[in-house]
């Protein structure tokens, strides 16, 4: 008789049990174990990426409109979850967290629901009166120097500003209020996203952004009348009081530069028919047409307006490259009409893009790099999650998605 395991059996009697004794002795899951989901609604930006990538359709949301936005209740049903953590990976804001808690035993379905409420507020358009008054007040002190702010928000240079309201119209956040009649320029600090669109849009360079040279405010009135007199004398036409342009048919060569440069698209110039038409409703009275006109055939505003100094000192060579510009711009527009990509990633429309950097700021994955100065728009293919947030926030619809 042979008992091969007797020795093993006898020695094992005195060994410790190999049992984990689980309910008696608590056991912890391994590091990086993916158990119960924790949702952080405060971090959620409601891009719905998690829902789109969820293979088990475990993530749902219900949104109900409220007075100032939306109330979104997002629910994770653990009973349909594969715990693949794709939602966590795709959530650029870390709103979804997988814990090591594996005790997911339920007698009711509700026990397996993880919910969170996201409040989405629609931006308030109207600026409170008290707040903008404060930053506006100290600005126009003669002899002082207007410096760009450190926080990335715009500063107005009152001596240059013509209150054309273009900046307010272009502001994607609706943070600027400009009154042409009252000559006020107010910034709503809370709404401002510091995108710099206003500075780019300003035809008078009257808005300073960080990195700009400080401007000395010495005698804001002095330079205005002197050069203004010159074009006034040359010009046969009388400027309009509302600051909108008037054409001088004698000087106009119908080169169409003014129409091309008009930020509002309010001008229609036909070279062949020799017509110059202004769309009164679209015109923002910014004075761009006046400053680009190589023949000084456009007069904007009455002559005492500070609009005059800009075109007056501009020497002839400065206009020469401007005249050449349309030839450069024109061929590139039809040459590369951007098409949406098949892989769900965004495409920039350079013709529309104002490089305001909002898309880069809002990108949950940090995949966009936009340089306002260099006018570059770069997409990091590896980081892009194709959520479409950039296209949604673009004030110019310059992103195809």
């Amino acid at each position: 008789m042979d008992f091969p395991f007797v020795k093993e059996a006898l020695s094992s009697i005195f060994k410790k049990s190999s049992c984990d004794m689980y309910p008696v002795r608590p056991s912890e899951a391994a590091p990086n174990y993916r158990g119960r989901i924790v949702f952080h609604p405060d971090k959620c930006i409601n891009c719905n990426m998690c829902e789109r990538v969820c293979s088990g359709n475990a993530i749902t949301h219900v949104s109900e409109p409220t007075e100032d936005g939306e109330r979104i209740t997002r629910t994770f049903y653990l009973g349909s979850c594969t715990f693949c953590a794709t939602c966590m990976d795709f959530c650029g804001h870390g709103a979804i967290e997988f814990t090591r808690d594996y005790h997911m035993v339920a007698t009711k379905e509700e026990d397996l629901m993880v919910t969170g409420v996201v409040i989405k507020k629609t931006p308030v358009k109207k600026a409170p009166a008290a707040k903008p008054a404060a930053p506006a007040a100290p600005a126009p002190a003669a002899g002082a120097v207007i410096k760009p702010r450190d926080d990335g928000k715009p500063v107005q240079v009152p001596s240059k500003c013509v209150y054309c309201t273009l900046c307010a119209k272009k502001c994607p956040a609706g943070a600027l209020t400009v009154d042409r009649a009252a000559k006020t320029w107010t910034l709503n600090e809370d709404e401002c996203v510091g995108c710099g669109t206003c500075a780019d849009a300003c035809p008078k360079k009257a808005i300073l952004m960080p990195g700009d040279e400080p401007v000395a405010v010495e005698a804001p009135a002095a330079p205005a009348p002197a050069p203004a007199a010159a074009p006034a004398a040359k010009s046969a036409v009388v400027g309009r009081e509302d600051g909108k342009p008037v054409q001088d048919p004698d000087k106009c060569v119908y080169c169409t530069i003014c129409a091309k440069k008009c930020p509002a698209g309010a001008l229609e110039v036909d070279r062949a028919a020799k017509t110059w038409k202004l769309d009164e409703d679209s015109c923002v009275a910014c004075g761009t047409c006046e400053s680009v006109c190589p023949k000084k055939a456009i007069v904007c505003g009455v002559q005492d307006a500070p609009a005059a100094p800009a075109p007056a000192p501009a020497p002839a060579p400065a206009e020469a490259p401007k005249a050449a510009e349309p030839e450069v711009i024109e061929p590139c527009k039809p040459a590369e009409p951007p098409k949406p990509r098949d892989d769900g990633r965004p495409v920039q429309d350079p013709a529309k893009c104002v490089y305001c950097t909002i898309c880069a700021k809002k990108c949950p994955a940090g995949a966009l790099e936009v340089d306002r100065a260099a006018k570059t728009w770069k997409l990091d293919e590896d980081l892009c999650i194709g959520c479409g947030t950039c296209a949604g926030v673009c004030p110019k619809q310059a992103i195809l998605y």
């Binding site: 190999s18 653990l78 979850c81 026990d111």
Partner: protein, 147 residues
């Protein structure tokens, strides 16, 4: 007297019957590991039974496919009352990634009353033990209610 003896002994040893209703085998492996010496669910009196007629707890894994549905129901009917139905993993609870497929008849709760859900894909053996402990409690209450 014998009846009481039998009742007491069955209460302490809730036998287990496992139905695979189209599972990917992940949950099945975890369930088997629960019965191994390391997790040793047999401490709780649980024993894997070979026939539904001896079982008290039915553990269902898999999303309940159209093919398996009549067999699952027929098997569950053979389990004597009081019985406790435990779903293991996400599949029998919702269909999981197979939800909406032409071949899925689930979730199981559409057809029978499910007592305990153990979530996970697949659940950790510890979670299964948690579920079994819960099932044993429910079973005890059901038995008390019957008497």
């Amino acid at each position: 007297m014998f009846k009481k003896l039998i009742e007491e002994s069955t209460a302490k040893s809730p036998w287990l019957f496992h139905i695979n209703a189209g599972s990917c085998n992940g949950c099945d492996i975890e369930l088997v590991s629960v019965l191994t010496p390391r997790y040793d669910a047999e401490r709780l009196g649980v024993k894997l039974s070979g026939t539904p007629r001896h079982a008290d707890i039915v553990v269902v894994t898999g999303p309940v496919t159209v093919q398996s549905l009549p067999r699952v129901l027929r098997t569950i009917e053979q389990v004597p009352e009081p019985r406790c139905i435990v779903t293991m993993g996400s599949c029998p609870q919702s269909g999981n990634v197979f939800r909406g497929s032409y071949s899925i008849a689930g979730p199981l709760s559409k057809y029978v009353h499910v007592d305990v859900d153990v979530a996970g894909c697949a659940p950790k053996p510890e979670a299964v033990i948690d579920g079994l402990v819960k099932a044993i409690e429910i079973l005890r209450e059901k038995r008390r209610a019957m008497n």
